[in-house]
Amino acid sequence: MDNTQSFRFFNRGPTPVARLIFFALLSLLLLFIDARYKHLESIRNILALPIQPLQRLATTLTTGPGILWDQFSIYVDSQGSLASENAQIRQQHAVYAAQLLQLQVLQAENEQLRKYFDLSQHADFPVQMAEIVYLERDIFKRKVYLDKGSQKNVLAGQVVMDEVGVVGQVTRVYPWLSEVTLITDKDHAVPIQVLRTGLRAVVFGSGNISNLTLRYMPISADIQIDDVLVTSGIDGTYPPGLPVARVIKIERDPAYPFAQILCAPLAGVDQQRQLMIISGLHKLPELPPAEAKEKEPKVNKTKRSRQ
């Protein structure tokens, strides 16, 4: 049967070479459009609708047995231990409730004080909890997917953190999912400040899960091992004062113009399952257009000419 078919090989539409050229050109065109413009996002969203449930299924199929075992062991747990645990939790709850009351009082007081100082930029950030659904399967990238999407008002550019520090940034939003690029992704930049000295810098991801690098710092820069880096909030994307990383290694080699500084992320970038999405940041006023700067020297020149 194979033989009879192979005689008609060239009668069945275009040759493989022609097909390869056609599909290769189509792919290259799509690649170009996708890399340069954002027109294909809607098509991607539509195609993702049937695919994402399948992906989720694949993930639950592998983690499923573990969850079933957990449920089984919970079922087997004796009623007595549950009752004692319940009592303990109730006690704890009472303690926490008291502490929470104190916290609310403190928050109110703090807010009032801040109003006095007009530190509006340090306002509380609305926070949304989200869970990691699955991980990126592309070896080149450091990304995770969270289970909140545009249905829950997640926007691209929002910051994701755990209870210790910054984890990453939302880079793409699907209806029920959002894609988070971790701060350790290659060349992902976070504007930071050294907590001890207030020195401003930008920390870059290295592509390695446990490393960040501080580039372009002069050899004489005042940075020590164990310095904590917090977000500076200067670009308006990251809220100020969130812990990002800790300096773990400094190499000051006079042969290079810059010191080589390695940092470790504070947040468990690859350990958490529950993460927080920070939303509702204050919009900074727009950057004044560059022409304003050019005008100033002209004014000076006219002044000088007048003098």
Partner: protein, 174 residues
């Protein structure tokens, strides 16, 4: 001599490939690709979809062609949120290689096929990495470990698909 034997055995025992069976095998391969692979396992993960595609391209080149490979590549692109056309391009190149060399590959015994398949996989992986390098400017070499594991998986996979196509045809065979 042995190669001729193998070819005639192919004709004798195998069912004509059922479209549902082809679709099912591709679907299962994609699902295997979408399992939560991580870290070193991700680097070592054989590309199941590419292997199954290559199997059908070499064994049924008139049924599964470059167009199908391209469509599956688009699905993989959406699932992995890589750039549109990145997987599609590399799978198209792979399918083309498979169709071009399908007689040559089938001439060899199943134990000798991995060496024939390896360069095709390498080229398709290289296309994927080259696109990534052109657009993002970075490359990680452990990515190419996947070609080795894929080539190693070729033999068990093609034997599995072969037996699955054979059993219904001849119920007396084991």
């Amino acid at each position: 001599m042995r190669a001729g034997d193998h070819y005639s055995k192919d004709q004798e025992f195998l069912l004509p490939a059922n479209p549902a069976f082809i679709g099912m095998s591709l679907f299962v391969a994609l699902m295997l690709n979408w399992l939560p692979w991580e870290g070193l396992w991700l680097a070592l993960r054989p590309d199941f979809a590419a292997l199954v595609l290559l199997y059908w391209c070499t064994h049924k080149p008139h049924r599964i062609g470059i167009g199908m490979a391209w469509a599956i590549g688009i699905f993989a692109d959406v699932a992995d949120s890589s750039l549109f056309g990145q997987h599609a391009l590399s799978y198209s190149v792979l399918a083309f290689g498979g169709i071009l060399l399908h007689r040559r590959i089938q001439m060899f015994d199943v134990r000798e096929q991995p060496l024939q398949v390896f360069p095709l996989l390498l080229i398709s992986y290289a296309v994927f990495a080259a696109v990534h390098w052109l657009i993002r400017g970075t490359i990680s070499w452990e990515f190419f470990l996947g070609t080795l594991t894929s080539a190693l998986l070729w033999m068990p996979l093609s034997m599995l698909l072969q037996t699955m196509r054979r059993t219904r045809n001849d119920p007396n065979e084991l």
